[in-house]
Amino acid sequence: MSSATGGLSGSGRPAPISAVPPEARGYQGQRAGMVSRLLASAVDLVAVAATVGAGYLAVSAILFLWDPRAFRFPAVDRTWLLTAGGVVLFCYLSVSWVINGRTWGDLLLGLRVESHRGEPLRVPGATIRAALCVVFPIGLLYVAVSRANRSVADVLLRTSVVYAWGRDAALTGERR
């Protein structure tokens, strides 16, 4: 049981039991590879696409209520669609990284974005990183060839995406 509890703390009380499975504990705090990050990004893209679609339906509903007789689904230009998607993705990434260092995709894959000090990103860092990810998403592929499992955004901003399955670590920014 000692391995599960991590032994007694200095005050004599048992340390909190880690909820991370034993086979995954060795990976916690290490930079994630490209597959995990791509999967997390895919989940984020789905979330963004759902948000954009929901926005489109909301606009359509408003137009329908405004003039039901003349209602037609609005035609969306590809440029406008990409722009809207980019804006939503930027906001989504920025807010998620500032709040707890995780997007929904990161939460599903057990990842966390942190600064070079191992802390959650602050607003400037989160916004700049989100802008880089939106404008230059292909920079994520650099993880495959990087010696430190870093993307282009990570190299420029000295950030890291690490395996962090524990929920407490996500909320407090503490390492396991």
């Binding site: 909190p16 060795g26 705090g29 290490q30 994630a32 995990s36 894959l109 191992g118 399955w165």
Partner: protein
């Protein structure tokens, strides 16, 4: 006067052979010795004048010798020896019973006194291989005989539960478990993605002819100090 049958009598000694013969001889000696002792005691207990003493000596001597003489006269030496042996056997059995009774009476006190003089703990520690004894103990059999229900009946489940909840911070465990490991499917997806990361990194490092391991440890993470981590299984 005691009469002795002429036909052969069963042997008073159940055991045959050398041991039986020795016991028979001992009984004969004891019988004769007992008669002699009784005679001597009769002689020396009298404290009368010499004449009375002489007369009194003759009386018990005659009483003692009369059966022997009668035996000798009627049955010969063999019957007399048989009579002496029977008397010796009774004396021996009485003496043995008295000795055994005396010894048994004193055994508890002697044992207690002996144990008081011994340091049994040190003696056992020095001369007994406790580990070898313990290795022969069937712990499983002992465990099967333990009445767990009776033990649990003596405990306070509510207090025990409160203790466990407080010491283990159970709410935090439940919260953490439900938050990070929602389902087994999520766990499998995460582990498979980690494995895929490892494989892809290995392939890319092989293509790029890299020999050194990747520096996966993020700042603040436990590693080897130079940013590298040990090989992950």
């Amino acid at each position: 006067m005691q009469r002795f049958p002429q036909q052969p009598r069963p042997s008073p000694w159940p055991r045959q052979g050398t041991a039986g013969s020795a016991l028979a001889a001992a009984d004969v000696v004891i019988g004769i010795g007992g008669g002699a002792v009784g005679f001597a005691r009769s002689v020396f207990r009298r404290g009368r004048p010499p004449l009375d003493a002489v007369m009194s000596l003759l009386t018990p001597a005659a009483r003692t010798a009369a059966p022997l003489a009668g035996c000798a006269a009627q049955a010969g030496p063999q019957a007399w020896l048989r009579w002496a042996a029977a008397k010796g056997r009774r004396d021996r059995e009485a003496l043995t019973s008295a000795v055994v009774q005396a010894v048994l009476t004193r055994v508890p006190d002697l044992t207690t006194a002996l144990l008081d003089q011994l340091d049994l703990t040190a003696l056992v520690a020095e001369r007994v291989d406790v580990n070898a004894v313990a290795a022969q103990v069937d712990v499983g059999a002992i465990a099967r005989r333990v009445d767990v229900i009776a033990i649990l009946d003596q405990m306070d489940p509510a207090a025990l539960t409160r203790y466990l909840v407080e010491e283990l911070d159970l709410p935090a465990i439940i919260q953490s478990s439900t938050g990070s490991i929602m389902t087994d499917a999520v766990h499998d997806v995460r582990m498979q993605s980690i494995s895929a990361d490892e494989r892809l990194s290995s392939v890319m490092d092989a293509i790029l002819l890299r020999r050194r391991a990747r520096r996966r440890a993020a700042p603040g993470a436990a590693g080897n100090g130079d940013g590298t981590v040990q090989a992950i299984p």
